[in-house]
Point group: none
Chain length 209, copies 4
DNA sequence: TATGAATGAGTCTTCATTCAT
DNA sequence: CATGAATGAAGACTCATTCAT
């Protein structure tokens, strides 16, 4: 099995794919899907244009490749942070901060991710389905953390789904603003702190009332 | 003066522009900016391609035209709702609900708006600058409502800007999910209620404690 | 007959044609035939584009109109100068100098004329035939002046046709250079003098010898 | 190095460029720059339209390519003929006759060359600058031959520049007439002889007088 | 007669994809 | 496997000409 003894061929092939994806990520982040050309990608990884087609069936396949790879990494990073936390509250905090940190670091990924999240509106491509699933998967992760928090009494009785979406969206949007330079570039921790405070306590003067 | 006695020519010309914008809105919503062709737009309003260029200098100008028109309407609708409310809290609620209602109704606008909000990441076009300004303008409206709420003691001491962004983003994202069919299609009021509850009280068990 | 009692209609019509030709001359001189647009012409004579088609069947017809009009004036100017001279030698000089002076003054005409003289090479349009005929007509005028000079003993026995062409061409080219600013802008008289001296005596040290 | 061992690729590429230029020359000669389409050119050398853009950046670049190539050949041909002659007089004759012969053979070049020489009047394009320089370069060659002839006593004291222009222009115009079929198609030698006789001795009855 | 809005054929150029070497 | 030359479909935009008013 290739899993056991990757042949030399497979190693080289894997290397090539990785190289293409890396180059493509940069290119797509800079020019967007439509704006990027296969020539750009080929040049960015010092490879012939035709070769790209040996590893990916089309421009869109490359795009999806970049996408899935990043999503996978984000998933894992996020999961690790959650696992390392102990209370539901801490886990939710971990979800938010790990995500903020990841996107802050990999902003070329985020640009693509976010761009696509909108393109989803227009032509529904396979990429989009993938994204949709990821979106749900992630918000379900959050949802179950919230549900657990409610059970443990750490959180008040809210709709786990609604709360999950709200947190998820605020997180995503905060990243957007930071990457676009639309907000003051306060340290990430601080911004995360403010955001978590809002999530936790809302803006109202007094609790349950 | 044209304001007083719009000539027949002006009426026709105005009608044509409106007609083009209307058709273009649909086309752009369906195919995105890149995906839409001038032929599509022309056909959608049953005029010759060349005619489009009598009213708009370029494809992008049409796009911007659609954009600005919708933005303007949203701005006004929103403002009216805010003005009709009395306490800061009510005004914030009005901001959120009017916006949700507007986007729910005009979803082809929202598709464009949102799509562009992401394209902003890649090539910074004039449209994008416009959008950025609108984004800030709107979040500042919210910001000042929040500041007022804090002064009046209705809200606790939060960062008005951070809170404004958070509310704005959650609202926007909720619309996205609804339009994409990513969430249960509960009645808008209900969803708005849930969202506002979260905004108001957060998810934590008890307030300041 | 209209020649006798031009109706008011004819007068207006004539005025319009003249106005169009005048505007067109400028436009064609500046942008060339291909580069000029009917909009340019219409604007240049403050008239609606459609109106142009009431007076001329097509863009090319306008062009030809400009052309023929100028050619006619040049023809007449030149002829008057020749008639005023007495000896064949003087007449030849008159031919050259009147032409130089005319083109120097009407350089927008000359630009068109010359441009067309070359376009003649490519697609043989009716305009070109006209031009060809004019070219021959003018060189025949010169030819017969030369023949007369030979008969009168003022000129040596040369091929009248060859000499006519040579003189004609040198004159035309001198104008080109002046209009293009390719040569020192000496006073026209002086340049004409040098040219005529060359025509008369050639460059060789001594005659037949 | 490519100069030593042109790779197969270079050979093919060179061949393609040459092929395109050859086809383009014909097309431009027949339709002019504006009248020629990229489709025409592509078809004329039996390649796809897109392929043209692999070798030239734009229509205009192809045009300029044709141009420069021909100019270079004419330059060299002419220079060789001049070098082979011994006295200044012979060299001038060589200049004229080699040029006549060249243009007579390559008349599609001449059509372009001449056409452009006029287009120079309208929009000053880079091509035109190139042409202008060539024009001056060539007339300076002639000018120095004349100056030398004057020094050697073979020619009378004339303005070398004026004489150079005159000869150059007559030569060019003679070619025009021949290509256009405006003159009797006498053998080239004969026409050259007549022209040179005129240049040498002018048309006047007696020498210095 | 005068207008100028409408038309749509025609142009250059780009770029994803194929395929012979 | 790798290459990169070749392809040709597609798209934005122009402009001479027409025609309803």
């Amino acid at each position: 099995m290739s899993a056991v003894h990757p042949t030399k061929k497979e190693v080289v092939s894997g290397y090539r794919r990785a190289c293409i994806l890396k180059a493509a990520r940069k290119v797509f982040a800079r020019h967007g899907f439509e704006g990027a050309t296969m020539d750009d990608v080929a040049e960015a990884c010092s490879i012939a244009k035709g070769t790209l087609y040996l590893y990916f069936k089309s421009k869109r396949q490359i795009y999806m490749g970049v996408f899935k790879q990043d999503l996978q990494i984000l998933r894992e990073t996020s999961q690790r942070a959650i696992d390392a936390a102990h209370s539901p509250g801490e886990k939710i905090r971990a979800f938010v901060t790990s995500r903020l940190a990841f996107c802050d670091r990999n902003n070329s990924f985020f640009k693509i991710y976010n761009s696509d999240a909108s393109a989803i509106f227009v032509t529904p491509h396979p990429t989009h389905k993938e994204l949709k699933e990821f979106y749900f998967e992630q918000s379900r992760v959050l949802e179950s953390l919230i549900a657990e928090g409610i059970r443990s009494g750490e959180l008040r009785e809210v709709s786990p789904q609604a709360a999950a979406f709200a947190i998820y969206d605020m997180t995503r949007s905060l990243v957007s603003r930071r990457i676009l330079g639309l907000a003051d570039q306060a340290p990430l921790d601080e911004e995360a702190g403010v955001l978590l405070d809002l999530i936790w306590r809302g803006i109202g003067k007094d609790g349950p009332a």
